[in-house]
């Protein structure tokens, strides 16, 4: 579904990603893990068109998407839930969700999609008319995920959805991500929460200093010495 080949991305003159190759198949949950500054967010921003690669290619459903603008990429069916959620705090919960359906095709079905999102997150329906800033941190994260679903994506990019949440809410977020996969949405998940991520995902890719360090099925990574030492502290 998503194919990344030999990707190099720069911030000005500083190279942030080196020769990244990665593929995500339909219906999979693929995790990107790695420490701060490893290039995880940079990779997501390159996929969704906010940054353009210096070399290499990105294809989605067989079509080249590197070089497209962010709105064209959203229209193709990739949705991005950014780090920290970034909900619009002085807009209501409902307005935030409607913004998620901004693209042409999604806007026409937005009332139907909002109902589906309310089924996943009943708390958002209760708070429909409240300003997003009155929501708790966990609820804001739910809203960000719900907003990401409003464009009816085929592929969803999550950037640290569990960041800053209590353990109970982290479990809730992972539960939601699993249920999205059951609904047929493919997921690329960036996380620092390595153990739980590897338990939820099918495959994972460990980034370090902008390079792919290890890649493989999660059950294999969980038992590999490298990952156990570096990320699980065993």
């Amino acid at each position: 579904m998503l194919d990344i080949n030999h990707l190099d991305t720069f911030y000005g003159k500083a190279q942030a990603l080196w020769n990244i190759s990665l593929s995500v198949d339909k219906g999979e949950i693929v995790a990107l893990v790695g420490s701060n500054g490893a290039g995880k967010t940079t990779l997501l921003n390159t996929i969704c068109g906010l940054l353009h690669p210096a070399s290499g290619s990105i294809s989605f459903l067989g079509e080249r998407i590197d070089g497209l603008t962010p709105h064209a990429i959203v229209e193709l069916g990739i949705s991005h839930v950014p780090e920290g959620g970034r909900v619009f705090t002085s807009m209501t919960v409902r307005e935030n969700l409607e913004m998620g359906a901004y693209t042409y095709h999604a806007w026409k079905r937005k009332d139907e999609t909002i109902k589906q999102v309310y089924q996943v997150f009943p708390v958002l329906k209760e708070r429909e008319r409240q300003l997003a800033r009155t929501l708790s941190g966990g609820e804001q994260q739910m809203l960000a995920v719900g907003r990401g679903l409003m464009s009816r994506p085929k592929l969803c990019l999550f950037d640290e959805p569990s960041y800053g949440l209590s353990p109970i809410l982290v479990a809730e977020v992972f539960r939601v991500i699993k249920s999205l996969r059951e609904q047929g949405i493919t997921i690329l998940l960036v996380e620092q929460n390595v153990r739980q991520t590897l338990e939820v995902a099918d495959r994972a890719c460990v980034l370090e200093n902008g390079r792919v360090e290890v890649e493989g099925a999660c059950d294999r990574l969980l038992t590999s010495d490298y990952v156990r030492k570096a990320y699980l502290g065993l």
Binding site: P70, H71, E95
Partner: protein, 317 residues
Amino acid sequence: MDIIRGVFKMPRLWWLISLILLVLLATLPLYGSAYTVILITAIIMYVILTVSWTMFFAPTGYLSLATAAFFGIGIYTMAILGEQLPLLPAVIAGGLVSFVVALIVGAITLRLRGVYFTIFTFGLVELIKHLLLFWEINVTGTRGRFVVLENNNTIFGVILGIFVVLMLTYYLLRRSKYGLALRSIGENEEAAAHLGVNVNLLKVFTFALSAFFMGAAGAIMATRWTYVDPYVAFNVLHSFLPVLMAIFGGMSQLYSPIIGAVIFAYIEEQLLTRFPEYFMLIFGVILVVAILYLPNGLVGLVRKWWQKGLREENVNS
């Protein structure tokens, strides 16, 4: 079709009130004195500048001081084309020239944020003024231009027409998904881009749309002033007053900048005729009080009292 349906969703009462006020205004030349018509024309001019400025600032938070530039471009378009074109096409041309200039300026400057954008737009007024002055003195060999005079009632009719089109545009913009997207840009441009908003295009287009109305207002006002030069046409007060009027009235509701502009323009007119020597002083005091004590403008204050009143009524009953 969505847009047309949107018009009919506005509460009936508001439509009724707006319609009655509009009929009263449109028939003003029949019962009002010549002075009243001229006064109301000047007030509507300020209302147009204030509302079109608010249309861009309120959702996005981009504070433009280029109002005088677009207003002045409209004035000069009329001064140049007024003899060749009939009145209405010349007014629309004034709006279109401003629209195009705003598209170009917007494409260059809307990447700037915060205070840099504001300073650039302020510089734009001075830049166009002095370029024009240089051109007129060195190339055409004049300093000012005469504009074809129009009947006061005609001017009043045209400016009222511009006002109505502006209000409908602003109303529809606020209700549409583009209005929502503009607000999201005001909050967080990057997050808006993540959701598929073409941030730059939407900003530049809305900026140009607001410039269209400023230009059209300038074009029709030129026919009232009959003589214009770059200093009159590109007066920086036309950049500052709309900002102050919008702050004074508030920006949360569709009608709040109108109320701010009407009261402010009326006070200005009264002070100017009665206390010309204290005009700026009294004006300054009113402004300081408005900024210190009316964070949401006059309309915000009234709404607060209103809601408090309703609450007390509920307690009593």
